[in-house]
Symmetry: C2
Subunit: 237 residues, 2 copies
Protein backbone atom coordinates (compact mmCIF):
# COMPACT_ATOMS: atom_id res chain seq x y z
CA UNK A 1 0.00 0.00 0.00
CA UNK A 2 2.04 2.90 -1.33
CA UNK A 3 -0.93 5.25 -1.38
CA UNK A 4 -3.99 5.59 0.84
CA UNK A 5 -6.97 6.09 -1.43
CA UNK A 6 -9.63 8.39 -0.01
CA UNK A 7 -13.08 9.27 -1.27
CA UNK A 8 -13.68 13.00 -1.77
CA UNK A 9 -16.28 12.85 1.04
CA UNK A 10 -13.67 11.34 3.41
CA UNK A 11 -11.88 14.70 3.65
CA UNK A 12 -13.27 17.50 5.76
CA UNK A 13 -13.00 21.15 4.79
CA UNK A 14 -10.04 21.58 7.14
CA UNK A 15 -8.13 18.70 5.52
CA UNK A 16 -8.76 15.88 7.98
CA UNK A 17 -9.54 12.37 6.79
CA UNK A 18 -10.44 9.17 8.62
CA UNK A 19 -10.29 5.56 7.43
CA UNK A 20 -11.96 2.70 9.30
CA UNK A 21 -11.66 -0.47 7.23
CA UNK A 22 -9.79 -3.28 9.02
CA UNK A 23 -7.63 -4.21 6.00
CA UNK A 24 -5.92 -0.84 5.77
CA UNK A 25 -5.72 -0.33 9.53
CA UNK A 26 -3.93 -3.68 9.82
CA UNK A 27 -1.61 -2.78 6.93
CA UNK A 28 -0.74 0.56 8.55
CA UNK A 29 0.11 -1.15 11.83
CA UNK A 30 1.79 -4.33 10.61
CA UNK A 31 3.52 -3.36 7.38
CA UNK A 32 4.07 0.38 7.71
CA UNK A 33 4.44 0.12 11.50
CA UNK A 34 2.89 3.56 11.35
CA UNK A 35 2.77 5.90 14.30
CA UNK A 36 1.25 9.38 14.74
CA UNK A 37 3.49 12.04 13.28
CA UNK A 38 4.48 9.89 10.32
CA UNK A 39 3.83 11.18 6.79
CA UNK A 40 2.23 8.96 4.17
CA UNK A 41 1.08 9.38 0.58
CA UNK A 42 -2.65 9.83 0.11
CA UNK A 43 -4.80 10.44 -2.93
CA UNK A 44 -8.44 11.26 -3.67
CA UNK A 45 -10.20 8.77 -5.94
CA UNK A 46 -10.16 10.26 -9.41
CA UNK A 47 -8.15 13.26 -8.23
CA UNK A 48 -4.92 14.60 -6.82
CA UNK A 49 -2.33 13.06 -4.50
CA UNK A 50 -0.02 14.39 -1.84
CA UNK A 51 1.32 13.85 1.66
CA UNK A 52 -0.65 13.50 4.86
CA UNK A 53 0.35 13.31 8.49
CA UNK A 54 -1.03 10.45 10.53
CA UNK A 55 -2.54 12.15 13.58
CA UNK A 56 -4.12 9.15 15.34
CA UNK A 57 -4.17 5.38 14.89
CA UNK A 58 -6.05 2.80 16.93
CA UNK A 59 -7.97 -0.44 16.34
CA UNK A 60 -11.01 1.41 15.01
CA UNK A 61 -9.65 4.17 12.85
CA UNK A 62 -6.75 6.13 11.47
CA UNK A 63 -6.91 9.90 11.15
CA UNK A 64 -4.79 11.99 8.80
CA UNK A 65 -4.23 15.63 8.25
CA UNK A 66 -3.73 16.21 4.55
CA UNK A 67 -1.53 18.96 3.21
CA UNK A 68 -3.10 20.51 0.10
CA UNK A 69 -3.11 17.68 -2.48
CA UNK A 70 -1.49 19.07 -5.61
CA UNK A 71 0.27 16.15 -7.27
CA UNK A 72 -1.36 14.68 -10.38
CA UNK A 73 -1.55 10.88 -10.66
CA UNK A 74 0.88 9.17 -13.07
CA UNK A 75 -0.09 9.08 -16.75
CA UNK A 76 -2.45 6.33 -17.89
CA UNK A 77 -1.56 3.85 -20.63
CA UNK A 78 -3.39 4.80 -23.85
CA UNK A 79 -4.90 1.35 -24.22
CA UNK A 80 -8.26 -0.34 -24.05
CA UNK A 81 -7.57 -3.89 -22.89
CA UNK A 82 -9.98 -6.54 -24.16
CA UNK A 83 -9.36 -9.73 -22.26
CA UNK A 84 -11.05 -13.08 -22.65
CA UNK A 85 -12.41 -13.73 -19.15
CA UNK A 86 -9.71 -15.64 -17.23
CA UNK A 87 -10.43 -18.10 -14.44
CA UNK A 88 -11.28 -16.27 -11.22
CA UNK A 89 -7.92 -16.33 -9.43
CA UNK A 90 -6.08 -15.35 -12.59
CA UNK A 91 -8.61 -12.55 -13.14
CA UNK A 92 -7.94 -11.15 -9.68
CA UNK A 93 -4.18 -11.05 -10.17
CA UNK A 94 -4.42 -9.77 -13.73
CA UNK A 95 -6.67 -6.89 -12.66
CA UNK A 96 -4.09 -5.91 -10.04
CA UNK A 97 -1.18 -6.08 -12.51
CA UNK A 98 -2.87 -4.09 -15.28
CA UNK A 99 -4.25 -1.47 -12.90
CA UNK A 100 -0.79 -0.98 -11.44
CA UNK A 101 0.59 -0.65 -14.98
CA UNK A 102 -1.90 2.15 -15.75
CA UNK A 103 -4.65 0.54 -17.84
CA UNK A 104 -7.94 2.48 -17.49
CA UNK A 105 -10.32 0.65 -19.83
CA UNK A 106 -10.86 -3.07 -19.48
CA UNK A 107 -13.39 -5.22 -21.30
CA UNK A 108 -13.81 -8.81 -20.10
CA UNK A 109 -15.07 -10.82 -23.05
CA UNK A 110 -16.60 -14.22 -23.59
CA UNK A 111 -14.93 -16.38 -26.21
CA UNK A 112 -15.42 -20.01 -27.15
CA UNK A 113 -12.68 -21.32 -24.89
CA UNK A 114 -13.75 -19.34 -21.82
CA UNK A 115 -15.41 -21.80 -19.45
CA UNK A 116 -19.03 -20.74 -19.00
CA UNK A 117 -18.77 -21.30 -15.24
CA UNK A 118 -16.33 -18.37 -14.98
CA UNK A 119 -19.25 -16.01 -15.66
CA UNK A 120 -20.96 -17.28 -12.52
CA UNK A 121 -17.95 -16.57 -10.30
CA UNK A 122 -18.52 -14.31 -7.28
CA UNK A 123 -15.24 -12.65 -8.32
CA UNK A 124 -17.21 -10.81 -11.01
CA UNK A 125 -19.31 -8.90 -8.48
CA UNK A 126 -18.64 -5.18 -8.89
CA UNK A 127 -17.39 -4.90 -5.31
CA UNK A 128 -14.94 -7.78 -5.77
CA UNK A 129 -13.59 -6.32 -8.99
CA UNK A 130 -13.26 -2.91 -7.38
CA UNK A 131 -11.20 -4.42 -4.56
CA UNK A 132 -8.54 -5.63 -7.01
CA UNK A 133 -8.53 -2.33 -8.87
CA UNK A 134 -7.98 -0.49 -5.58
CA UNK A 135 -5.10 -2.83 -4.71
CA UNK A 136 -3.52 -1.98 -8.07
CA UNK A 137 -3.93 1.77 -7.47
CA UNK A 138 -2.55 1.51 -3.92
CA UNK A 139 0.47 -0.36 -5.28
CA UNK A 140 1.28 2.02 -8.13
CA UNK A 141 0.33 5.31 -6.40
CA UNK A 142 -2.50 6.17 -8.73
CA UNK A 143 -6.00 7.49 -8.00
CA UNK A 144 -7.95 6.85 -11.20
CA UNK A 145 -10.00 3.63 -11.12
CA UNK A 146 -10.16 1.69 -14.37
CA UNK A 147 -13.56 1.07 -15.89
CA UNK A 148 -14.36 -2.62 -16.29
CA UNK A 149 -17.09 -3.78 -18.69
CA UNK A 150 -18.37 -7.35 -18.97
CA UNK A 151 -19.31 -8.59 -22.46
CA UNK A 152 -20.92 -12.00 -22.46
CA UNK A 153 -21.26 -12.15 -26.24
CA UNK A 154 -18.28 -12.31 -28.59
CA UNK A 155 -20.12 -11.53 -31.79
CA UNK A 156 -22.10 -8.52 -30.47
CA UNK A 157 -18.87 -7.09 -29.07
CA UNK A 158 -16.93 -7.53 -32.30
CA UNK A 159 -19.74 -6.29 -34.53
CA UNK A 160 -21.28 -3.51 -32.46
CA UNK A 161 -18.63 -2.25 -30.02
CA UNK A 162 -15.17 -2.93 -31.44
CA UNK A 163 -15.56 -0.81 -34.62
CA UNK A 164 -16.24 2.25 -32.45
CA UNK A 165 -13.15 1.56 -30.33
CA UNK A 166 -11.03 1.10 -33.47
CA UNK A 167 -12.19 4.36 -35.03
CA UNK A 168 -9.63 6.21 -32.94
CA UNK A 169 -7.25 3.41 -31.91
CA UNK A 170 -4.91 0.85 -33.45
CA UNK A 171 -6.23 -2.68 -32.88
CA UNK A 172 -3.82 -5.47 -31.94
CA UNK A 173 -4.69 -9.12 -31.34
CA UNK A 174 -2.10 -11.19 -29.49
CA UNK A 175 -2.27 -14.71 -30.89
CA UNK A 176 0.34 -17.44 -31.39
CA UNK A 177 1.35 -18.06 -34.97
CA UNK A 178 0.59 -14.56 -36.29
CA UNK A 179 3.17 -13.30 -38.78
CA UNK A 180 4.41 -10.23 -36.90
CA UNK A 181 6.00 -9.86 -33.50
CA UNK A 182 4.41 -7.57 -30.92
CA UNK A 183 5.46 -4.00 -31.84
CA UNK A 184 7.54 -1.95 -29.41
CA UNK A 185 7.02 1.56 -28.12
CA UNK A 186 3.68 2.47 -29.74
CA UNK A 187 3.05 6.17 -30.04
CA UNK A 188 -0.69 5.96 -30.65
CA UNK A 189 -3.68 4.71 -28.60
CA UNK A 190 -4.46 1.03 -29.00
CA UNK A 191 -6.98 -1.70 -28.36
CA UNK A 192 -5.13 -4.79 -27.15
CA UNK A 193 -7.09 -8.03 -27.48
CA UNK A 194 -5.84 -11.05 -25.52
CA UNK A 195 -7.37 -14.53 -25.76
CA UNK A 196 -8.14 -17.15 -23.12
CA UNK A 197 -5.71 -19.80 -21.88
CA UNK A 198 -6.56 -22.18 -24.73
CA UNK A 199 -6.36 -19.33 -27.26
CA UNK A 200 -8.95 -17.91 -29.63
CA UNK A 201 -10.53 -20.28 -32.13
CA UNK A 202 -9.73 -19.58 -35.78
CA UNK A 203 -13.16 -18.05 -36.45
CA UNK A 204 -12.66 -15.56 -33.62
CA UNK A 205 -9.26 -14.51 -34.95
CA UNK A 206 -10.78 -14.05 -38.40
CA UNK A 207 -13.55 -11.85 -37.02
CA UNK A 208 -11.08 -9.71 -35.06
CA UNK A 209 -8.84 -9.27 -38.10
CA UNK A 210 -11.85 -8.54 -40.31
CA UNK A 211 -12.92 -5.85 -37.82
CA UNK A 212 -9.59 -4.11 -38.41
CA UNK A 213 -7.21 -5.54 -35.81
CA UNK A 214 -3.66 -6.58 -36.65
CA UNK A 215 -2.43 -9.96 -35.46
CA UNK A 216 0.84 -10.21 -33.55
CA UNK A 217 2.63 -12.70 -31.32
CA UNK A 218 4.89 -12.65 -28.27
CA UNK A 219 7.17 -15.49 -29.38
CA UNK A 220 7.10 -19.27 -29.07
CA UNK A 221 6.55 -19.49 -25.31
CA UNK A 222 3.09 -20.17 -23.89
CA UNK A 223 2.57 -17.70 -21.06
CA UNK A 224 -0.07 -17.51 -18.39
CA UNK A 225 -2.57 -14.73 -19.03
CA UNK A 226 -1.23 -12.58 -16.19
CA UNK A 227 2.36 -12.88 -17.44
CA UNK A 228 1.39 -12.37 -21.08
CA UNK A 229 -0.70 -9.25 -20.44
CA UNK A 230 2.07 -7.61 -18.39
CA UNK A 231 4.66 -8.53 -21.03
CA UNK A 232 2.48 -7.21 -23.86
CA UNK A 233 1.72 -3.90 -22.15
CA UNK A 234 5.36 -3.36 -21.27
CA UNK A 235 6.53 -4.05 -24.79
CA UNK A 236 3.81 -1.95 -26.43
CA UNK A 237 4.17 1.17 -24.26
Amino acid sequence: MNLILLSPEDITADGNATIRDPRRLRHLREVHRAAPGQHLTVGVAGGAMGRAELTALNDQQATFHCAPLTQTPPPALPVHLVLALPRPRMLARTLEHVTALGVKDITLLHTRRVEKSYWQSPELAAEKIRRHLVLGLEQARDTVLPEVTLRRGFRPFVEDVLPGLLSTRRGLVAHPGMANACPRGLREPAVLVVGPEGGFIDWEVERLLAAGCEGMHLGPRILRVETAVTALLSRLF
Copy 2:
Protein backbone atom coordinates in the same frame (compact mmCIF):
# COMPACT_ATOMS: atom_id res chain seq x y z
CA MET B 1 0.88 -27.92 -17.91
CA ASN B 2 1.66 -27.49 -21.60
CA LEU B 3 4.60 -29.89 -21.46
CA ILE B 4 5.30 -33.02 -19.44
CA LEU B 5 8.88 -32.82 -18.24
CA LEU B 6 10.66 -36.17 -18.07
CA SER B 7 14.06 -37.11 -16.69
CA PRO B 8 16.34 -38.85 -19.19
CA GLU B 9 16.15 -41.98 -17.01
CA ASP B 10 12.33 -41.95 -17.20
CA ILE B 11 12.45 -43.06 -20.84
CA THR B 12 13.21 -46.65 -21.76
CA ALA B 13 15.21 -47.64 -24.84
CA ASP B 14 11.98 -48.39 -26.72
CA GLY B 15 10.56 -44.90 -26.01
CA ASN B 16 8.20 -45.62 -23.13
CA ALA B 17 7.96 -43.28 -20.15
CA THR B 18 6.02 -43.45 -16.89
CA ILE B 19 5.17 -40.68 -14.44
CA ARG B 20 3.84 -41.37 -10.95
CA ASP B 21 3.61 -38.08 -9.04
CA PRO B 22 0.08 -37.24 -7.86
CA ARG B 23 0.22 -33.59 -8.98
CA ARG B 24 0.68 -34.37 -12.64
CA LEU B 25 -1.63 -37.39 -12.61
CA ARG B 26 -4.37 -35.18 -11.19
CA HIS B 27 -3.67 -32.47 -13.76
CA LEU B 28 -3.83 -35.01 -16.61
CA ARG B 29 -7.19 -36.29 -15.38
CA GLU B 30 -8.85 -33.07 -14.23
CA VAL B 31 -7.50 -30.37 -16.54
CA HIS B 32 -6.48 -32.26 -19.67
CA ARG B 33 -9.24 -34.86 -19.17
CA ALA B 34 -6.68 -37.11 -20.80
CA ALA B 35 -7.48 -40.59 -22.06
CA PRO B 36 -5.31 -43.27 -23.64
CA GLY B 37 -4.70 -42.58 -27.30
CA GLN B 38 -4.37 -38.83 -26.72
CA HIS B 39 -1.15 -37.08 -27.80
CA LEU B 40 0.60 -34.65 -25.47
CA THR B 41 3.80 -32.60 -25.59
CA VAL B 42 6.70 -34.04 -23.60
CA GLY B 43 10.29 -32.95 -23.12
CA VAL B 44 13.42 -34.32 -21.53
CA ALA B 45 14.96 -32.11 -18.85
CA GLY B 46 17.78 -30.21 -20.51
CA GLY B 47 17.00 -31.77 -23.88
CA ALA B 48 14.59 -32.13 -26.76
CA MET B 49 10.80 -32.02 -26.91
CA GLY B 50 8.17 -33.75 -29.02
CA ARG B 51 4.85 -35.56 -28.94
CA ALA B 52 3.97 -38.65 -26.97
CA GLU B 53 0.91 -40.89 -26.94
CA LEU B 54 -0.70 -41.59 -23.60
CA THR B 55 -0.94 -45.38 -23.48
CA ALA B 56 -2.33 -45.88 -19.97
CA LEU B 57 -3.60 -43.67 -17.13
CA ASN B 58 -4.77 -44.72 -13.69
CA ASP B 59 -4.54 -43.46 -10.10
CA GLN B 60 -0.96 -44.67 -9.72
CA GLN B 61 0.72 -43.83 -13.01
CA ALA B 62 0.54 -42.55 -16.55
CA THR B 63 2.45 -44.25 -19.34
CA PHE B 64 3.46 -42.62 -22.59
CA HIS B 65 5.02 -43.80 -25.79
CA CYS B 66 7.29 -41.07 -27.08
CA ALA B 67 7.90 -40.51 -30.76
CA PRO B 68 11.55 -39.58 -31.37
CA LEU B 69 11.99 -36.22 -29.62
CA THR B 70 13.53 -33.86 -32.15
CA GLN B 71 12.21 -30.38 -31.31
CA THR B 72 14.60 -27.99 -29.60
CA PRO B 73 13.31 -25.95 -26.66
CA PRO B 74 12.56 -22.25 -27.27
CA PRO B 75 15.49 -19.83 -27.10
CA ALA B 76 16.58 -18.58 -23.69
CA LEU B 77 16.70 -14.89 -22.79
CA PRO B 78 20.33 -13.70 -22.79
CA VAL B 79 20.07 -12.35 -19.28
CA HIS B 80 21.42 -13.04 -15.83
CA LEU B 81 18.74 -11.84 -13.42
CA VAL B 82 19.99 -10.55 -10.06
CA LEU B 83 17.02 -10.14 -7.78
CA ALA B 84 16.94 -8.88 -4.21
CA LEU B 85 15.31 -11.78 -2.35
CA PRO B 86 11.53 -11.12 -2.36
CA ARG B 87 9.16 -12.29 0.35
CA PRO B 88 8.43 -16.00 -0.01
CA ARG B 89 5.10 -15.91 -1.87
CA MET B 90 6.37 -13.26 -4.24
CA LEU B 91 9.52 -15.30 -4.81
CA ALA B 92 7.46 -18.34 -5.80
CA ARG B 93 5.41 -16.44 -8.36
CA THR B 94 8.38 -14.49 -9.67
CA LEU B 95 10.37 -17.70 -10.25
CA GLU B 96 7.45 -19.08 -12.28
CA HIS B 97 7.08 -15.90 -14.36
CA VAL B 98 10.77 -15.53 -15.18
CA THR B 99 11.25 -19.20 -15.93
CA ALA B 100 8.29 -19.11 -18.31
CA LEU B 101 9.82 -16.02 -19.95
CA GLY B 102 13.09 -17.88 -20.58
CA VAL B 103 15.51 -16.64 -17.91
CA LYS B 104 18.21 -19.26 -17.22
CA ASP B 105 20.46 -17.58 -14.66
CA ILE B 106 19.02 -16.21 -11.44
CA THR B 107 20.90 -14.83 -8.46
CA LEU B 108 18.89 -14.13 -5.31
CA LEU B 109 20.73 -11.41 -3.42
CA HIS B 110 20.63 -9.94 0.05
CA THR B 111 20.32 -6.19 0.25
CA ARG B 112 19.71 -3.86 3.16
CA ARG B 113 15.94 -3.75 2.74
CA VAL B 114 15.50 -7.51 2.35
CA GLU B 115 14.01 -8.78 5.61
CA LYS B 116 16.49 -11.17 7.19
CA SER B 117 13.69 -13.61 7.99
CA TYR B 118 13.19 -14.24 4.26
CA TRP B 119 16.50 -16.14 4.23
CA GLN B 120 15.05 -18.61 6.77
CA SER B 121 12.00 -19.38 4.62
CA PRO B 122 11.39 -23.03 3.71
CA GLU B 123 10.66 -21.70 0.20
CA LEU B 124 14.43 -21.41 -0.30
CA ALA B 125 14.97 -25.17 -0.05
CA ALA B 126 16.37 -26.44 -3.34
CA GLU B 127 13.39 -28.78 -3.83
CA LYS B 128 10.90 -25.94 -3.29
CA ILE B 129 12.70 -23.67 -5.71
CA ARG B 130 12.90 -26.46 -8.27
CA ARG B 131 9.15 -26.97 -8.05
CA HIS B 132 8.49 -23.39 -9.18
CA LEU B 133 11.06 -23.63 -11.95
CA VAL B 134 9.38 -26.80 -13.22
CA LEU B 135 5.98 -25.06 -13.18
CA GLY B 136 7.47 -22.30 -15.32
CA LEU B 137 8.94 -24.80 -17.80
CA GLU B 138 5.68 -26.77 -17.98
CA GLN B 139 3.81 -23.54 -18.70
CA ALA B 140 6.11 -22.23 -21.42
CA ARG B 141 7.02 -25.58 -23.05
CA ASP B 142 10.68 -25.45 -22.21
CA THR B 143 13.03 -28.13 -20.87
CA VAL B 144 16.05 -26.21 -19.60
CA LEU B 145 15.96 -25.54 -15.85
CA PRO B 146 17.32 -22.17 -14.74
CA GLU B 147 20.22 -22.11 -12.33
CA VAL B 148 19.43 -20.32 -9.08
CA THR B 149 22.21 -19.08 -6.82
CA LEU B 150 21.71 -17.62 -3.34
CA ARG B 151 24.03 -14.75 -2.31
CA ARG B 152 23.62 -13.71 1.30
CA GLY B 153 26.17 -10.94 1.11
CA PHE B 154 25.70 -7.82 -1.04
CA ARG B 155 29.25 -6.59 -0.89
CA PRO B 156 30.96 -9.92 -1.71
CA PHE B 157 28.60 -10.33 -4.66
CA VAL B 158 29.23 -6.85 -6.03
CA GLU B 159 32.98 -6.98 -5.47
CA ASP B 160 33.82 -10.59 -6.30
CA VAL B 161 31.11 -11.94 -8.61
CA LEU B 162 29.50 -9.06 -10.50
CA PRO B 163 32.67 -7.90 -12.30
CA GLY B 164 33.01 -11.35 -13.88
CA LEU B 165 29.38 -11.31 -15.04
CA LEU B 166 29.83 -7.81 -16.49
CA SER B 167 32.96 -8.75 -18.42
CA THR B 168 30.74 -10.17 -21.18
CA ARG B 169 27.37 -8.55 -20.44
CA ARG B 170 25.78 -5.11 -20.22
CA GLY B 171 24.77 -4.33 -16.64
CA LEU B 172 21.44 -2.63 -15.92
CA VAL B 173 20.09 -1.63 -12.52
CA ALA B 174 16.36 -0.89 -12.35
CA HIS B 175 15.89 1.87 -9.79
CA PRO B 176 13.38 4.71 -9.47
CA GLY B 177 14.78 8.14 -10.16
CA MET B 178 17.57 7.08 -12.51
CA ALA B 179 18.03 9.42 -15.47
CA ASN B 180 17.33 6.97 -18.31
CA ALA B 181 14.29 4.89 -19.12
CA CYS B 182 14.63 1.13 -19.47
CA PRO B 183 16.05 0.47 -22.96
CA ARG B 184 14.02 -1.51 -25.50
CA GLY B 185 15.01 -4.46 -27.63
CA LEU B 186 18.57 -5.10 -26.41
CA ARG B 187 20.74 -7.00 -28.83
CA GLU B 188 23.42 -8.01 -26.35
CA PRO B 189 23.50 -10.19 -23.22
CA ALA B 190 22.72 -8.38 -20.01
CA VAL B 191 22.79 -8.54 -16.25
CA LEU B 192 19.51 -7.15 -14.91
CA VAL B 193 19.62 -6.09 -11.25
CA VAL B 194 16.28 -5.53 -9.49
CA GLY B 195 15.96 -4.26 -5.94
CA PRO B 196 13.65 -5.25 -3.08
CA GLU B 197 10.19 -3.83 -2.45
CA GLY B 198 11.54 -0.87 -0.52
CA GLY B 199 14.25 -0.29 -3.15
CA PHE B 200 18.03 -0.29 -2.91
CA ILE B 201 19.63 2.09 -0.46
CA ASP B 202 21.74 4.83 -2.02
CA TRP B 203 25.01 3.14 -1.09
CA GLU B 204 23.94 -0.04 -2.88
CA VAL B 205 23.05 1.87 -6.04
CA GLU B 206 26.43 3.61 -5.90
CA ARG B 207 28.24 0.29 -5.59
CA LEU B 208 26.32 -1.22 -8.51
CA LEU B 209 27.01 1.80 -10.71
CA ALA B 210 30.67 1.83 -9.66
CA ALA B 211 30.89 -1.83 -10.67
CA GLY B 212 29.87 -0.87 -14.18
CA CYS B 213 26.07 -1.10 -14.25
CA GLU B 214 23.90 1.57 -15.87
CA GLY B 215 20.92 2.87 -13.93
CA MET B 216 17.49 2.94 -15.56
CA HIS B 217 13.85 3.24 -14.50
CA LEU B 218 10.47 1.88 -15.56
CA GLY B 219 8.52 5.09 -15.02
CA PRO B 220 6.77 6.72 -12.08
CA ARG B 221 4.63 3.76 -11.03
CA ILE B 222 5.67 1.58 -8.10
CA LEU B 223 5.23 -2.03 -9.22
CA ARG B 224 5.30 -5.25 -7.28
CA VAL B 225 8.49 -7.22 -7.88
CA GLU B 226 6.73 -9.88 -9.96
CA THR B 227 5.09 -7.27 -12.20
CA ALA B 228 8.25 -5.18 -12.49
CA VAL B 229 10.49 -8.12 -13.43
CA THR B 230 8.10 -9.32 -16.14
CA ALA B 231 7.74 -5.77 -17.48
CA LEU B 232 11.51 -5.21 -17.48
CA LEU B 233 12.31 -8.48 -19.27
CA SER B 234 9.63 -7.88 -21.86
CA ARG B 235 10.83 -4.38 -22.58
CA LEU B 236 14.52 -5.33 -22.67
CA PHE B 237 14.23 -8.39 -24.96
